[in-house]
Amino acid sequence: MCTMIVEKIKVDGSGRGKDGWFTLEGANVSYDHPFNAPLEHALNIDFVNESMGPSARVAVELSEQAARELVKTILAVLDQADAGGHL
C-alpha cells in the first residue's frame, strides 16, 4: 500500500463478478495504486463480499475527475427519483 487512503462501508445490493451475480456486503473505497488504469493513483472502488473470499469483487478504477462526476451523477439521479416520488 502506498497512500493507505481507504474507507470501508457496508452496502446492500448485488454485484456481477467473474462467476456471475453475488450479494454485496461492503465497498472498499481507496485512493491508491490501481491495477489496470494507466494512473499512478486512482479512486478505486471494490464492491465485495468478504465471506465469499477475495474473488467476490467488482472493481472500478477511476480518475479523480471521473470519480467526482460519478458522485455528482449518483446524487442527481437519486434527487430525481426522490422528486418523482420513487424513494
Binding site: 502506498c2 465485495v48 474473488s55
Partner: protein, 251 residues
C-alpha cells in the same frame, strides 16, 4: 556476466517458509542450477501484490546468479488472483509492519539454511516493498545489502502512524545493519524528492553506507514495463546499478 558458452539452468517453484508469528506462508523461489555457493536475495513485493512482475523479478535475480525467495506477504488475506488478494489487503488498509518484517526475516533465514547458498543475503523491494525491505534491514540482523526502489512512506508524519504502522521507518535508521542502494524518480509523489533528501540526511547522520540515485523524467514505478510509468533508459541504468551493488556486497 553471462557468456554464450556457459551452461545455465534454473529451478523455480513455490515453497513454504516460516513467517511472522510462527505462521507458515508460501514463497516463490528461483535458483540457479549448480553446486554454488550462490548469494541469496529476498524480494519484498509491492502493493499490487505477489504478482507476475514479482515472479518475473524472481527469475531475473536467479538469472543473475542469486538464489531468490519472494514471500507472499499477503498470504493471510486468502487466496485468489493476485489482484483480488491485493485488493482485499488494500481495502483492509495494508498489512502490519511487524508481520511483514517477520515474514521477510523468515525468508532470509530460509535462504541462509540452503546448502548451496554462500550465507550472504540481500533484500530488494519496490513501492511498499521498498519500505518493507527498509524496515526489515533495520529491524532484523542478517541482511548484507538492501535495495530500496521508491519505497513510499519511509518518512511518516505522526498522524499517519497507527497500530499497523506504529513507527516511521526513518526512525529506525540508526539500526540499519547493511549498505543501502536507493533508486528514486524525481517525479514521484510518494516518496517525493524532499522525503528522499530527508532519508539521505538521516543515513548521513548515522554514518550508514549508502548510494542514492535519483532519475529525472521518471516517477513512481519506472521499472514496471507493463505500465505507463516505465522509463526505458532510467530503468536500464537502474537495473545496472542494482546488480553492481549486489555483486559488490554479496559475493
Amino acid at each position: 556476466m553471462y557468456r554464450t558458452d556457459m551452461y545455465q539452468g534454473q529451478l523455480a517453484e513455490t515453497v513454504m517458509v516460516n513467517g511472522a508469528n510462527g505462521d507458515t506462508i508460501n514463497a516463490y523461489m528461483a535458483r540457479p542450477l549448480g553446486a554454488g555457493p550462490f548469494p541469496a536475495m529476498v524480494l519484498a513485493h509491492h502493493m499490487p501484490g505477489w504478482d507476475e512482475w514479482y515472479r518475473e523479478a524472481t527469475f531475473k535475480f536467479a538469472n543473475h546468479g542469486f538464489v531468490t525467495i519472494t514471500p507472499n506477504l499477503y498470504f493471510r488475506a486468502g487466496h485468489g488472483t493476485p489482484e483480488d488478494v491485493a485488493a482485499k489487503v488494500r481495502g483492509d488498509g495494508g498489512i502490519p509492519d511487524e508481520q511483514a518484517v517477520g515474514d521477510l526475516a523468515g525468508a532470509m533465514q530460509y535462504a541462509k539454511s540452503l546448502p548451496y547458498a554462500n550465507g550472504k543475503v540481500g533484500i530488494f523491494g519496490t513501492c511498499s516493498g521498498g519500505r518493507h525491505a527498509y524496515l526489515a534491514a533495520c529491524r532484523v540482523q542478517g541482511f548484507d545489502a538492501i535495495v530500496d526502489c521508491w519505497g513510499g512512506r519511509v518518512v511518516m508524519a505522526p498522524d499517519q502512524l497507527n497500530a499497523n504502522f506504529p513507527v516511521s521507518p526513518l526512525d529506525y535508521t540508526k539500526d540499519l545493519s547493511c549498505p543501502i542502494l536507493g533508486i528514486f524518480g524525481n517525479d514521484d509523489s510518494n516518496p517525493p524528492p524532499e522525503q528522499v533528501n530527508q532519508h539521505e540526511e538521516e543515513l548521513k547522520k548515522h554514518n550508514k553506507a549508502y548510494e542514492f540515485h535519483r532519475y529525472d523524467g521518471a516517477g513512481h514505478g519506472f521499472f514496471y514495463y507493463h505500465s505507463p510509468a516505465y522509463r526505458q533508459a532510467q530503468a536500464v541504468d537502474g537495473w545496472k546499478k542494482v546488480f553492481a551493488f549486489l555483486e559488490k556486497n554479496l559475493s
